[in-house]
């Protein structure tokens, strides 16, 4: 952990998305997009990743801000987490999102950290971060899934050579809210549902989202579908601040005539992607929420989980979070 300069790079600060995309296609795989910078600069400082051309999006004002539309709201990818946390519309209609962002990292990081940066952050496996030649780094082994490997924070599902988890507190909330990611490239815009945006190591081990080289996440659309639902967010981490989740849970639910009419639930930090708990949704839809359904749903939630050496505790943890989310 040397305290010195980052390796030299050329810095570009475009003031429009078009300029940013042009720089991105000009420099190709030598370029690196910086939003808040908290993930990027750690890679550079630790000399584990390097880019010759850094494109800083902080001056691209068209990517900032929260707007209300007839279909819901649209959040610019460069909007800070603090702005989302304090936004009145989000607090009133999508409090799941304001609750989730309020638990990310620390106040200073939320002030400059962006929603786009949070959703696109890289895996937090410390072996990978340390710069070893693991599968995710293009090598041919996994250091976490070995008899001595420290894998307390790693996955219960979806291991495919790599056992890292999705580290975001916001990503599961986006899956629950059925958000749509708007991605720009030189060829125009494309939209991807949040549930398909995150990808596991079985699809591509070297990245965590569908973002291709030359593409930028520009905004997130949140539909009215779950506006004003009953929301629940809870994050369990070793420390109350700064820390990444051991497990987090997001839930949106509507109750009509005493039974669950609609529910959507997702958990973070148990798989390489936010894990949609469809089985819980199936178990409780149409039922009354009581101890029996909560118990049944929580048992179902961890079906098929394959813990590693040191993360068995995540199974009862997730079960308890499911119960709490249902009873709340």
């Amino acid at each position: 952990m040397a305290k010195d300069m980052m390796p030299a790079f050329e810095l570009y600060q475009p003031d429009s998305l078009d300029n940013a995309l042009e720089l991105l296609s000009r420099f190709g795989d030598q370029s690196w997009i910086v939003a808040g910078g908290h993930d990027s600069f750690d890679w550079f400082k630790d000399r584990t990743k390097y880019a010759q051309y850094v494109i800083d999006l902080n001056n691209v004002n068209e990517l900032k801000g929260i707007t209300e539309t007839s279909e819901g709201i649209e959040i610019g990818a460069m909007t800070s987490l603090t702005e989302i946390e304090l936004n009145d519309v989000i607090r009133q209609r999508y409090s799941l999102l304001s609750d989730a962002v309020s638990r990310v990292a620390s106040p200073q990081i939320r002030h400059i950290g962006t929603i786009g940066g949070n959703l696109n952050q890289d895996a937090r496996c410390w072996y990978y971060r340390y710069g070893v030649d693991c599968y995710r780094a293009g090598g041919n082994s996994c250091y976490a899934d070995t008899p001595e490997g420290q894998n307390r924070e790693h996955c219960l599902w979806g291991a495919s050579r790599c056992v890292a988890v999705s580290p975001s507190d916001v990503a599961p909330a986006m899956v629950v809210l059925e958000a749509t990611m708007v991605i720009a490239s030189a060829n125009g815009l494309r939209e991807v549902p949040a549930e398909d945006y995150f990808i596991g190591p079985n699809i591509d081990i070297e990245r965590m989202t569908v973002i291709e080289p030359g593409e930028v996440l520009v905004s997130i659309k949140i539909p009215n579908t779950w506006a004003n639902a009953m929301f629940y967010f809870e994050k369990v981490a070793d420390r109350n601040t700064w820390d990444f989740p051991l497990v987090n849970i997001s839930r949106a639910m509507f109750i009509e005539n005493g039974v669950v009419s609609r529910i959507r639930m997702a958990a973070g930090a148990v798989e390489c992607i936010p894990r949609r708990l469809s089985v819980v949704e199936q178990v409780v839809t149409g039922s009354e929420i009581n101890d029996e359904t909560a118990e049944l749903a929580s048992q179902a939630a961890t079906r098929g989980a394959t813990p590693l050496n040191f993360n068995h505790f995540k199974i009862p943890l997730l079960q308890n979070l499911v119960k709490r989310a249902l009873r709340a």
Partner: protein
């Protein structure tokens, strides 16, 4: 008879330590693993920029890969901003940029152009009177070793400018991005509560 050199062992060691310290602190900017001032950047941002620091316009030569903490400490001599982890994990480098508390170690100086930067040195008034938060820190014996104090104070100043009468829990949350290895958290919170009581 051979005359012994006048240098005592003690002074010799002191000399080595002093020159070693000088070398290591300048290595931040000019050392082998850093980058020299001769570095060229053919494209991208201009290097000669003006920064507004503590109400003054400072002209400074800033490398593209330089963080605000580096610029403040090693180019502008404002060493009140501390570097603890240099990874956004401790909060010792907290400064205000446009009134918002940020980690100066994790912000490129070029991103802070055209913004008002306030460091711990900029808090006291022109007649030398300490900021109410600084005075309350002294009166309540807030710090223990003091290394994290500038960062704690900057976070407290940012809080009180938005919320002049915070609850203890709000203070705790506002200072939660500043680590204190002495564990003097309660003392810091006492000091911020006192500053709020006295009015900022």
């Amino acid at each position: 008879m051979i005359t012994q050199p006048k240098t005592s062992r003690r002074n010799f060691i002191k000399g080595v330590i002093a020159s070693g310290a000088a070398a290591s602190s300048s290595a931040y900017m000019f050392g082998v693993s850093g980058c020299s001032n001769q570095q060229v950047s053919p494209g991208g941002v201009e290097r000669l920029i003006s920064l507004n620091v503590n109400g003054m316009t400072r002209n400074v030569d800033v490398l593209p890969n330089e963080t605000l903490a580096m610029t403040l400490r090693y180019k502008l001599g404002l060493t009140g901003t501390k570097l603890g982890c240099d990874r956004g994990e401790c909060g010792a480098c907290t400064v205000l940029v446009d009134g918002v508390n940020l980690y100066a170690c994790s912000l490129l100086t070029h991103t802070a152009r055209n913004k008002q930067i306030i460091t711990i040195e900029g808090l006291e008034s022109s007649d030398g009177m300490l900021h109410p938060v600084q005075q309350a820190m002294i009166d309540e014996l807030g710090p223990q070793c003091g290394f994290c104090t500038p960062g704690q104070i900057m976070s407290a100043v940012a809080l009180l400018s938005n919320n002049p009468n915070p609850t203890r829990d709000e203070v705790r949350r506002a200072l939660s991005g500043n680590l204190c290895r002495c564990g003097a958290y309660d003392h810091y919170i006492n000091a911020v509560m006192l500053a709020a009581e006295r009015g900022v």
